[in-house]
């Protein structure tokens, strides 16, 4: 059932077997796993069912270091969380992403990629994905010709992304959450402190507050923090009554190793002659990008890398109308009725110029230039971090400063990966690559605002000296506090994180069930 926390009597004490803080992709995916079971679950969501300015303001923070979109613009704080504005790109991490890589400091997950297979399979329907097949050979008919041409042979290769509608988990599963007898979704419920015993080994209760001043508590045998890559760290750091440095922070790791995915046009390919080789088929339902053989990445000691290969001008970007039209038609082709149909139709109609020019460029133009829009992994960097600042929000919690710092390895990898792409196009006689001007600066800053992917701030490791959570996503040194979401990723790969967030959430749900068995 859905409960407006503002209607609770003052100082209400809620009891549950499992309390999940955060009603975004991770929180909802976990909560759904318990529907119909014998456990009582409380899902605690800061916002309501729609966007609200005052609630969103709780996300305001400072950003320094590499440019990153404002913290109150990159995330959304109402049921469904940031899935309310995600783009829907899905791909599992690769084995190479989880393996330790000697040339990438702090790399290596404590779990194997194969152990995630069953959870990835289960995550696909949650995100309404019509296929979990990422083999390029299965999708050659869906690729622009350049991806089936000789240029994509060693060391380049097509990399498949599946496309979620995109699923807005709050609206897609609202009825299911509302009807579940053993699940209570508390809206307008903000966690203000994780209260523990004196030894900080056990969460006693969660101190909750509404923006109207109402306060209540939640007691649960197990607590899951699922509030996103910045807020998970913030809430641990703010819960500093028993531990001055914050919970789980005995080794000064909480908030460190922040990562995002730089994504920006970084090069162009000048073709020998105007060509339609990057034109996508009209019935395309997948996305395909250009990647590099992991063996070459290992030999050259590079970070993971993919790039879109798009005609110039591209059939997206400023042309919001065309993008909306394309997503609509893709969904309808998959048999999925878009859950924000009217909004997308409105975008198409409001941007008829963009819709028309995007359509023309996609289906008729023969450009001599291709644009490479990269989407790259950055290395885990302890100096890239989320910290508390003195300024406080309306609930009295410290706001945060995000200081995203790139490393020399990030820069070297980006440039070298592009040179490898350029060499492949040159070797096959397709044309020549030109790096973007900003890549020629020494040192260069990567422009753009990241991808709104907040990763790594409560990283997973079997060793409490190198990780905040263990392989079961339990906070080291604590018996009943778990963390869900991309903050537990030790490294990020190049794949968008939502599919892995959901997969790890399902894995955590299974673990919690085993603890209650």
């Amino acid at each position: 059932m859905l409960i407006d926390s503002r209607s609770l009597p003052e100082a209400t004490r809620i009891e549950a077997d499992i309390a999940i803080v955060g009603g975004g992709a991770a929180g909802i995916a976990i909560a759904r796993e318990f529907i119909g079971g014998g456990l009582r679950v409380a899902l605690l969501e800061s916002g309501g069912l729609d966007y609200d300015d005052d609630t969103q303001d709780l996300y305001v923070g400072e950003v320094t270091g590499n440019p990153s979109i404002a913290l109150d613009a990159s995330r959304l704080r109402y049921l469904g969380g940031t899935s309310n504005h995600w783009a829907g790109y899905c791909r599992p991490l690769d084995e190479a992403d989880l393996n330790p890589r000697p040339w990438v400091p702090h790399s290596g997950w404590p779990i194997t990629r194969v152990s995630l297979d069953p959870y990835y399979r289960r995550a696909h329907p949650v995100l309404q994905l019509v296929s979990d097949d990422y083999r390029p050979a299965s999708w050659t008919g869906q690729m622009p010709p350049v991806f089936t041409s000789p240029v994509m042979r060693d060391p380049l290769r097509p990399v498949i992304f599946q496309q979620s509608p995109p699923t807005r988990l709050g609206s897609a599963y609202r009825a299911e959450l509302d009807q579940a007898a053993n699940l209570a979704v508390y809206l307008w419920a903000n966690l203000t402190e994780i209260v523990t015993d004196e030894g900080t080994a056990l969460v006693r209760h969660l101190a909750m507050a509404c923006l109207d001043g109402r306060r209540f508590t939640v007691e649960a045998r197990h607590v899951v923090l699922a509030t996103g890559g910045v807020e998970n760290a913030r809430l641990l750091l703010c819960s500093n009554r028993q531990a001055e440095a914050g919970l789980g922070n005995g080794h000064d790791l909480v908030g460190r190793y922040f990562m995002d995915h730089p994504a920006y046009p970084a090069a162009t390919i000048l073709l020998n002659q105007p060509s339609t080789i990057a034109r996508a088929p009209a019935d395309q339902i997948i996305d395909v990008l250009c990647g590099i053989d992991p063996a070459v990445e290992e030999r050259e000691r590079l970070l993971r890398f993919v790039t879109a290969v798009q005609p110039v001008p591209p059939p997206e970007g400023e042309e919001a109308g065309y993008v909306a039209l394309r997503e609509l038609t893709r969904n309808l082709r998959r048999g999925i009725w878009p859950n924000d149909l009217m909004g997308r139709l409105g975008t198409v109609l409001a941007d008829l110029d963009g819709t028309t020019s995007g359509f023309y460029n996609r289906f008729f133009a023969s450009p001599e230039l291709l644009r490479l829009r990269v989407h790259i992994e950055v290395a885990p960097n302890p100096e890239s971090r989320v910290t508390l600042i003195d300024e406080r929000d309306a609930l009295g919690l410290n706001r945060v400063r995000l200081d995203w710092r790139l490393t020399e390895l990030d820069r070297l990898s980006l440039r070298r990966n592009l040179e490898i792409v350029g060499a492949a196009f040159g070797a096959r006689g397709f044309g020549r690559l030109q790096l973007a001007d900003w890549l020629l600066e020494e040192p260069f800053a990567i422009p753009g605002n990241g991808s709104y992917h907040h990763v790594g701030t409560t990283r997973m490791s079997d060793d409490p000296r190198t990780g905040v959570v263990d392989r079961d996503c339990r906070v080291h040194g604590m018996r009943n506090l778990f963390i869900a979401g991309s903050s537990v990723f030790p490294t990020e790969g190049f794949a968008n994180p939502t599919l892995t967030i959901v997969a790890l959430g399902l894995r955590l749900a299974d673990h919690l069930k085993s603890l209650h068995a």
């Binding site: 040179e419 350029g422 060499a423 492949a424 040159g426 020549r432 030109q434 790096l435 973007a436």
Partner: protein, 128 residues
């Protein structure tokens, strides 16, 4: 730093059409200069190459390095006027360029990732 215009690169990429070889070249010009459809573009690229990579050395050094790297360029680099036939030159150079790229022998010149051999040939044009 002299930028390399896209138009100049297009001219470089067009060094294939055999029919255009030698157009406007003075009689007796070295064989390799006849490769370029647009010699002025090659010269401008060559200037940018040398500005970006001043350590490439003299014309003779560059020529010797090209000879050592690519046997197929041997005849091309001999300053024997009008030999071999112009139509035979392009495949040899294309082979050398492809081999360069495959081996990641590239030079980045004002952002353009060029094969080392094509960049050095342009440098020779500039130095000629």
């Amino acid at each position: 730093m002299s930028p390399v215009a896209r138009r100049q690169l297009l001219a470089l990429l067009a060094l294939a059409p055999a029919a255009s070889f030698g157009v406007g070249r003075p009689a007796g010009a070295a064989a390799w200069t006849r490769l370029f459809h647009d010699l002025e573009s090659a010269r401008l690229i060559g200037r940018a190459v040398l500005e970006s990579h001043p350590d490439l050395g003299s014309a003779e050094t560059i020529r010797e390095r090209l000879r050592l790297r690519h046997a197929v360029l041997q005849e091309l680099l001999d300053d024997t006027p009008d030999r071999p036939p112009a139509s035979a030159l392009a495949p040899a150079l294309a082979e050398a360029i492809a081999a360069d790229f495959a081996a990641h022998r590239t030079l980045t010149v004002t952002g353009w990732v060029l094969s080392r051999s094509e960049a050095e040939l342009c440098a020779l044009v500039h130095l000629a």
